[in-house]
């Protein structure tokens, strides 16, 4: 990453030629040589300054997106000053423990950040040839994740939530419990949490602040906060600022950074708002056609780089409107991220926490992060077997609802019972922190009542090893 300082603004240009104000956008006439994505200061009639960014330049006029909203601006007295540079974030190791707004300004009453570098918040794509494949197992202490949808360092894994489901609780629990195993005794690899609150309520922000305090992680955390009542277009900046900070901490200071972003649904709403104000041709459900590329420019900023000790792992929360996984926001996200953890309203109603619906959930990095030397040799077979049986169990439940349990064969009853136990004992765990051994042993315990012929996904040798002499008497 190039850590060049912002060039001095020798070419600051000021205009009083605002011709239109439309939603979050202002149109400026008779501009000359302004740059695409250049940062802009807008000085309102009272002399207060707000920030904006050039969205389009066409001949001698420009369209500027105003972060703090356009309320109070006029066409006559408003002045616009072009800064001559794209949006940058001042970064420093001293950001740890601080609370910043979406442009990187401290809002915790503390001193200004003394920059070690000033970075373009859009970042640059990591050259695919220097990436290393994420394969270090992160133990989250959650069985549904560690056992069945394993998270690895450098992965991007979203949580698909619904309104009212405990996604924030789960994210906070993961942030508190996440560990990388392997090196016995020396668990003190430097880590940090970068948290981006995007359009969330005061209540949610204070929930996370309390959680970080309770787990003693505050000193290792950078909070970027854009509250629900902050200008919505600033949400687009907040996510980028947070990821720029994360990349800096990871690849310049060698920290293992866990980025938590919530709620990406608010981000996408802001993207749609700007697109609508520009009168762009809308795509599905009014979201712009470039939303995939835009989201990719965020999510792809996770990863590991060969030769660099640090890593950026993303845990992204989004709310599926009306619990619809085919809605463009979860849909496009799922096409970019490496899997997804899907929360279920049904399980939540039954009081199961975390209410992870394992069937639509997936971790694409799982196969690289598990097995001998990482978790355990039996891990993959157990996971496959649990999935296969649980999927059948769920089918059978539907069948039972129609024709009653009496019609089931003995084998089918075992499977049905298995599915219930999986939910009640394996997925449901409350706030406990389970080691990977506890999770996998629990998986074996769930399978114990089933005869070996039903365990097609597990090699014979492993079953014999587990059951030992007990097989003869069975």
């Amino acid at each position: 990453m190039k850590a060049e300082l912002a060039p001095p603004s020798l070419v600051t240009k000021e205009y009083r030629t605002v011709s239109q104000i439309r939603g979050p956008l202002i149109f400026i006439e008779r501009t000359s040589e302004i740059a695409y994505h250049e940062m802009v200061e807008i000085i309102d009639p009272e002399g207060r300054v707000r920030l904006g960014r050039v969205l389009e330049v066409n001949g001698n006029h420009g369209i500027v997106q105003v972060f703090a909203g356009t309320t109070g601006l006029d066409l006559r007295a408003t002045r616009v000053r072009f800064r001559g540079d794209v949006a940058r974030l001042d970064v420093s190791l001293a950001m740890l423990g601080r609370v910043l707004d979406g442009t990187g300004q401290p809002i915790d009453g503390g001193p200004l950040i003394v920059p070690e570098a000033s970075l373009d918040i859009n970042g640059a794509p990591i050259n695919p040839t220097v990436r290393t494949h994420p394969s270090e197992f992160i133990q989250t202490g959650i069985s549904a994740i560690d056992g069945l949808n394993t998270l690895t360092r450098g992965q991007k894994l979203p949580i698909f939530s619904g309104a009212g489901l405990p996604a924030n609780e789960l994210a906070a629990q993961i942030a508190a419990q996440a560990r990388v195993l392997g090196r016995q005794g020396q668990e003190a690899e430097p880590f940090a949490v970068v948290f981006a609150a995007i359009g969330v309520t005061h209540r949610e922000v204070s929930f996370f602040v309390d959680q970080f305090q309770a787990s003693g992680a505050t000193e290792r955390t950078v909070l970027f906060v854009n509250r629900a009542d902050d200008p919505s277009v600033l949400r687009l900046m907040t996510a980028r600022a947070a990821l720029t900070a994360a990349e800096y901490l990871a690849f310049t200071h060698g920290l293992h950074v866990l980025v938590i972003m919530t709620d990406m649904t608010n981000y996408c709403e802001a993207l749609r708002e700007v697109a609508a104000a520009r009168e762009e041709v809308p795509g599905r459900r009014g979201y712009p056609g470039y939303m995939y590329s835009d989201l990719a420019s965020l999510y792809e900023r996770a990863g590991r780089i060969r030769g660099s000790p640090g890593s950026v792992t993303q845990l992204v929360i989004l709310t599926m409107p009306d619990d619809d996984i085919t809605h463009p926001i979860p849909d496009l996200t799922g096409y970019i991220t490496e899997g997804q953890i899907v929360l279920s309203r049904d399980l939540h109603r039954q009081g199961i926490y975390p209410p992870v619906d394992i069937l639509p959930s997936l971790s694409r990095q799982m196969k690289a992060g598990i097995g001998e030397g990482k978790t355990r040799a039996d891990h993959r077979f157990l996971a496959d077997q649990l999935y296969a049986l649980y999927a059948r169990g769920r089918d059978l439940r539907r069948l039972v609802a129609i024709i009653g349990e009496a019609a089931l064969s003995a084998e089918e009853r075992l499977i049905l019972d298995f599915a219930d136990r999986l939910e009640q004992r394996f997925i449901s765990q409350g706030k406990t922190n389970r080691s990977i051994d506890e999770t996998l042993d629990l998986a074996w315990a769930l399978l114990d009542p089933l005869p070996p012929e039903m365990l097609k996904r597990i090699p014979d040798a492993l079953i014999r090893q587990r059951r030992g002499g007990a097989e003869d008497s069975a």
């Binding site: 066409n58 540079d85 640059a124 050259n127 990436r131 809308p282 990719a296 999935y387």
Partner: protein, 606 residues
């Protein structure tokens, strides 16, 4: 791509994302490559209107200013062709990513365009023609050993015809002259200097002598494809599937194991971490056909989803041009595009920035035309050239050099709904459809190829009968019918319960489940299972159906279904996928003999 033809300079007047308006470019042609701004970003002219040239820029445009210069190279977007392509990792504009890293570090900088091929390497060139011989476009001038498995044929560029005035030999760099072909007054009357390296415009298909019908299957080693929905060499297939249905895993399995000479894998809007996976694995993986590392026959094009959108649009064309080049040497080439939806979305995004009137779901009205043009660049062909000799593949068209280019495109339909424009437009042109099904992937049935929605239009029965077994097609047909019937029976069970079915129908359901679990499911990660030769595929299917026939006979003779379910053969069949490759065929043959013997003899044997 980077040569400057003493170009004309214009000025930027408009910037909207990747689309830039330029005035003052004289004599500019559509699809000319231009260098935009002080940084010299690479772009391509995609629309001309009066004095305004509209350029799509292949790099991030943030910071670009109105008034910055734009220089026209006067050349279209070309691919550089020559030895040194294999084993490379390119971005969508054929910039070598490993070289890019040495120039710009871990993150990709703008305005850096290293040459695609190694310019220092000396290649031992062995001529095949002599001075004085008359050659024409497509003829092989000589060869260079590019990798241990691929001999690179140096071809007379299409359109060139004449007498060889001079032919070189020995160690040459890509820019040194291999042959001089002397003026032929009948064509263009010019003298051509042929080098190891040639350039070809990516948007223009390379010419062939003749197209051949598709008669041989592309053996993939994936059972559900080879048995049920085979694609022909030189054919086309699409793999539509929602996220998490296993498109990428399936495409990568095809890239690893498909029976072709050269594989080009285009990661178009793909995940960076998955590309990293490929990059780490391919050099370590052995080609099952040659035992040598797979990178010897592979070219990767990686344009990850966060790399500029216009380069994503170009990556498909870059890939297919490289594919055509190896096809022209007489090789069987497979191009995998993951995912064509991202390419379609790039078209949509650029179309939106051009303020074109949108067609369905915001895609441009020319989406279907572009898709057809792309898929029609596939085919099995007699290569251009007057020679009958052959550089690689078996020739069968009357001693001619033949090659093939097979295209397989992943499609990512929004919400997994196949009614969307890219899936639908692709379906009208491709020969095979491998539909990935959520309900299968959720139960970890992989590859999640649906046996009800998928199809193939290639009739390869004669090839299978001649090369695998006479009864191949019969077995396949029977298994398909059985699965179909099982789906119908499942619906009945859903409504009225399992007791409505007869014993015979329960047996059918049991065997259908065995076909699904023991045959159609295949692990990409298990060494014993990931590549299934046709012989193994055949015997597995044969044994399963032998079990079915055996049980039918037994049921008629009064046996109970529970007894038949408990036969030791059932457990053995279930474990076939774990058996090492060298032991599996004898095991299967033994099983087949036992099951058939007892069925034929009428003895129930339980």
């Amino acid at each position: 791509m980077t040569e400057d033809a003493g170009g004309k300079t214009g000025r930027i007047v408009r910037i909207a994302g990747p689309v830039v308006g330029v005035t003052g470019l004289e004599a500019v042609r559509l699809f000319d490559v231009v260098h935009v701004g002080e940084l010299g970003l690479v772009g391509e002219v995609i629309r001309l209107a009066h004095d305004l040239a509209v350029v799509q820029v292949y790099e991030e445009t943030a910071g670009l200013r109105v008034g910055e210069p734009v220089i026209n190279t006067g050349l279209p977007l070309v691919a550089q062709l020559g030895p040194g392509l294999l084993g490379q990792i390119y971005d969508g504009l054929q910039r070598p990513l490993t070289v890019l890293q040495t120039l710009s570090g871990n993150f990709i900088d703008r305005g850096v365009s290293p040459f695609p091929l190694p310019q220092e390497t000396r290649w031992p060139f062995t001529p095949r023609v002599r001075t004085g011989e008359v050659v024409s476009g497509g003829d092989i001038l000589g060869t260079v050993p590019e990798t241990p498995v691929i001999t690179h044929a140096v071809l007379v560029p299409p359109g060139v015809h004449g007498r060889v005035a001079d032919i070189n030999a020995g160690d040459l760099t890509i820019d040194e002259i291999v042959a001089v072909i002397e003026a032929d007054p009948e064509t263009d009357g010019r003298t051509h200097e042929v080098r190891l390296r040639q350039a070809w415009p990516v948007r223009q298909p390379r010419p062939v002598r003749e197209r051949l019908p598709a008669r041989q299957p592309l053996v993939t080693g994936t059972r559900v494809i080879d048995a049920f929905f085979p694609v022909a060499r030189g054919g086309t297939a699409i793999v539509p599937g929602g996220f998490g249905t296993g498109k990428t895993v399936l495409e990568q399995a095809l890239a690893r194991w498909a029976g072709v000479d050269v594989v080009i894998y285009v990661g178009c809007g793909e995940r960076g971490n998955e590309i990293a996976d490929v990059l780490e694995e391919f050099p370590a993986l052995e080609d099952p056909h040659t035992g040598l590392p797979l990178m010897n026959r592979t070219i990767l094009i990686a344009n990850t989803s966060n790399m500029p959108v216009a380069a994503r649009e170009a990556s498909i064309y870059t890939g297919i041009t490289l594919g055509e080049y190896y096809r022209d040497m007489g090789y069987d080439v497979l191009l995998l595009a993951d995912s064509t939806s991202r390419w379609g979305e790039a078209l949509r995004e650029i179309s939106g920035r051009l303020e074109e009137i949108p067609g369905e779901e915001g895609y441009p009205a020319y989406l279907a035309a572009r898709l057809s043009e792309f898929y029609e660049r596939s085919g099995r062909v007699i290569c251009l050239g007057s020679d009958g000799a052959d550089a690689g593949a078996e020739d069968e068209a009357a001693g001619r050099r033949t090659g093939s280019l097979t295209l397989i495109g992943a499609v990512s339909p929004p919400g997994g709904d196949f009614s969307e424009p890219i899936t639908q437009s692709s379906m009208t042109v491709v020969g095979a459809l491998w539909a990935l099904d959520y309900s299968l992937s959720r139960r970890r049935h992989f590859p999640a190829v649906s046996w009800t929605q998928s199809y193939t239009l290639y009739d390869l029965r004669r090839w299978y009968a001649a090369n695998v077994a006479d009864d191949w097609s019969d077995l396949v047909q029977e298994a398909m019918a059985l699965l179909q019937r099982a789906d119908e029976l499942q619906e009945i069970v859903q409504i009225v319960g399992p007791e409505a079915l007869s014993e015979m129908e329960h047996l059918l359901l049991l065997v259908a489940r065995m076909i699904q679990e023991d045959f159609l499911q295949q692990s990409s990660f298990e060494a014993s299972d990931r590549y299934s030769p046709l012989e193994k595929t055949y015997w597995m299917l044969r044994v399963l159906l032998a079990y079915y026939h055996h049980c039918r006979a037994a049921l008629e003779a009064g046996a109970g279904l529970e007894q038949l379910r408990g036969l030791p053969e059932v457990a053995q069949i279930a474990r076939v996928r774990e058996v090492p490759p060298d032991q599996v065929i004898p095991l299967l043959k033994g099983l087949d003999e036992r099951l058939r013997g007892s069925a034929a003899g009428g003895s129930v044997g339980v």
